[in-house]
């Protein structure tokens, strides 16, 4: 399994990913990949503390998969969340070079 912990930052609502140092990054590529149940539980515990400390809200784990040779969120919803609106490629993480994938409006 390959998963990543995500949330929204309380102050501005932006999508963030838990990094290896226990911080939160807006960039999917900085997110820590958890490889097993123990790692996931530990990461979720760190994230829960951040939620309790009012840094983030709506913490959960997302599944990852290889898409065209790059690690990417598996669900379309999560790919859009990590990228930005597919109909406005000038907005969101894709506009900052943070996107794991290229927006495609289907």
């Amino acid at each position: 399994m390959q998963e990543m912990i995500t949330a929204n930052r309380l102050r501005d609502g932006l999508v963030v990913f838990l990094d290896a140092a226990g911080g939160w990054s807006e960039d999917f590529h900085q997110g820590a990949i958890v490889e097993d149940a123990a790692g996931k539980a530990a990461a979720l515990a760190v994230a829960a503390r951040a939620a309790a400390d009012n840094l983030v809200v709506d913490v959960y784990a997302i599944e990852l998969e290889l898409r065209a040779g790059h690690l990417s969120p598996k669900a379309l919803r999560e790919r859009i969340r990590a990228t930005g609106p597919t109909v406005r490629t000038d907005l969101g993480k894709q506009a900052q070079g943070f996107a794991p994938t290229i927006a495609n409006r289907g």
Binding site: D12, G13, V15, K74, L76, I80, P85, V87, R88, G106
Partner: protein, 557 residues
């Protein structure tokens, strides 16, 4: 237009400061997210897919230039330079920061705007016909009643925690442009045999996962009893509506489960028992409110404009705009212009700050400082002199708002869908864009004529797909977007819920399927004057089904 009195201004200002305090306490950790969420929702603030979203109320869709300029200003300062007009005629900002939201609300309050009751289980923004006060065949302007309902329902102590959200619409024209039969309460203004004004009352309409056309529970309600009767309906709902299951909590389920007759009896009993004379509207109350919405002085003008005739004869696109986007006005020499927020290939309902400023200028210069938002996600200039119309058209065209497609195949209602919304199961906007690109706004679209396509990105049906002539519902199946199509829906005075064609279509195939439906209509229609809906009602589903599943497009599922 309604103008705040001292009470309104103090109420809104106090609410801004109350929310500022709540936000500060949340950021400081004095409130948990579970405690804070209902408070932010009561102030229109959602957490969406990419960021927060603030929904600003535009009561019955009426704006002036100062309000629209402020909306533009807020879009630039606090969002990403645009806003999205919704099917409740509100405006959504998709990128505000929590910490800045109280400042946004304070700015909005400076032009008598707010975000109160744009979310939560309360009575939401009351909507009305977007041609209110100007339609040539109107019975009465619905907005004074909508404003009375708004004031009565704002922070109503009994109705702030209803089983579920509650939506009211008022229509004042024989033709229903406000989709009243899809509302929790729909009010149709009528005159009785004595010539008195009143309402035909519909209850229990709604879309979502269990769509219902509203039931008529009263042919004629005298206008002075508007609040007494509406209060009776909402009280019966508040007491008897289901709170055990969110998906069965809307009034439509109560009306359905209780039965129309029993529900109606309960309302009539409550109405009879509710002798609260304070809620009976006096003639003076109504006249006072009506005065706010009095039409501006419109000096008599020639009913025809040679300037328009000349331009039409040499400019096919202007001629197309005149046919699609210009409606007759009740005062000769004037017209109602629709500024299309559906440019081909862009997001339905989105409007940039620069476009908002441009329309605000036009409203100020040419439309007595007034404009409207329609539930079909367009902007309306309601008081344009015919001789000014070409100039207004040119200025709209210069900012991309003169697409000649009002009411046509590319004038699509679409919810934000999975591009923005946490609830969505599939994208809506890209499908709308690709359909608009397929049909365009030229000769083919014009030949197809009146056709309402409505797209929702999930079963909650914010894109009103159930009442689209062609409705499209985006779902997710095995990780892929799939689109279910319905035909024959309608949100007007002959409201109907669309019928499902059959198995759904993939994202790749859905536009081709719509094309097949449209071409089947063109082959089946009696002549070019028979619109899609009339043809569908005459020939039924069979030829469409055959074309979709046995001949060309084919289903993927």
């Amino acid at each position: 237009m309604y103008a705040y009195d001292e009470f309104d201004a103090a109420f809104v200002a106090a609410r801004v400061e109350q929310f500022r305090d709540q936000v500060n306490r949340r950021i400081a950790g004095e409130l948990t997210e579970d405690q804070f969420r209902p408070l932010r929702l009561m102030n229109g603030l959602y957490l969406q897919l990419h960021a927060y979203m603030l929904r600003v109320a535009i009561p019955y869709g009426t704006l002036n230039s100062a309000k629209l300029r402020k909306l533009a200003d807020v879009a630039r300062k606090y969002s990403r330079g645009y806003g999205h007009f919704t099917t409740r005629t509100n405006l959504q900002y998709h990128w505000p920061k929590l910490a800045e939201t109280p400042d946004i609300l304070a700015e909005l309050a400076s032009v008598e705007m707010h975000a109160i009751q744009t979310s939560g289980n309360c009575i939401r923004n009351v909507t009305a016909d977007h041609f209110a006060g100007v339609a040539a065949d109107e019975i009465a302007d619905p907005r004074p009643y909508a404003e009375i309902l708004r004031q009565w329902s704002s922070q109503h102590p009994e109705f702030s925690f209803l089983p579920r959200k509650f939506k009211i619409a008022v229509n004042g024209d024989p033709h229903d442009r406000a989709a009243i039969q899809t509302h929790d309460i729909g009010l149709q203004i009528v005159r009785n045999a004595e010539g008195e004004l009143g309402f035909t009352v519909y209850v229990g309409g709604g879309l979502g996962r269990t769509p219902f056309v509203a039931k008529k529970i009263r042919d004629f309600l005298p206008e002075q009893d508007l609040l007494r009767y509406v209060e009776a309906i909402v009280r019966v709902y508040n007491l008897d509506g289901r709170r055990d299951n969110k998906f069965k909590a809307r009034i439509k389920i109560l009306v359905h489960e209780k039965g129309q007759a029993a529900f109606s009896e309960a309302v009539e009993a409550e109405y009879g028992a509710n002798a609260q004379t304070a809620l009976t509207l006096s003639e003076a109350d109504i006249a006072h409110m009506r005065a706010y919405f009095a039409p501006p002085p419109l000096p008599p003008r020639a009913p025809e404009s040679p300037r328009i005739a000349r331009r039409r004869s040499r400019d096919a696109r202007f001629d197309a705009y005149m046919r699609a986007n210009v409606a007759p006005h009740k005062v000769p020499g004037y017209a109602v212009m629709t500024a299309s927020l559906k440019p081909i290939g862009l997001t339905p309902g989105d409007c940039s700050a620069d476009q908002m400023d441009a329309v605000a200028d036009l409203a100020e210069d040419y439309s007595h400082d007034e404009l409207r938002v329609s539930h079909e996600q367009n902007l309306i200039l309601p008081y344009v002199a015919l001789d000014d119309l070409p100039a207004v058209y040119d200025r709209l065209a210069s900012v991309g708002l003169a697409t000649p497609n009002a009411g046509q195949v590319s004038d699509i209602i679409a919810c934000p869908g999975l591009d923005y919304c946490t609830l969505a199961t599939a994208r809506s906007i890209p499908v709308a864009q690709r359909i608009a690109e397929r049909f365009g706004d030229g000769a083919r679209a014009s030949d197809i004529g009146a056709l309402k396509i409505k797209i929702s990105g999930c079963i909650n049906a914010c894109g009103h797909h159930h009442v689209g002539h062609i409705g499209i519902l985006g779902l997710e199946r095995a990780g892929e977007e799939t689109y279910q199509i319905t035909l024959g829906g309608s949100a007007d005075e002959n409201a109907a819920i669309g019928q499902i064609t059959g198995p759904g279509f993939s994202s790749e195939r859905v536009v081709e399927a719509v094309d097949t439906i449209v071409e089947t209509y063109r082959a089946q229609r009696n002549d070019a004057d028979e619109p899609f809906l009339a043809t569908f009602r005459r020939v039924g589903m069979a030829p469409f089904k055959e074309a979709l599943y046995e001949r060309s497009a084919g289903s993927d599922i």
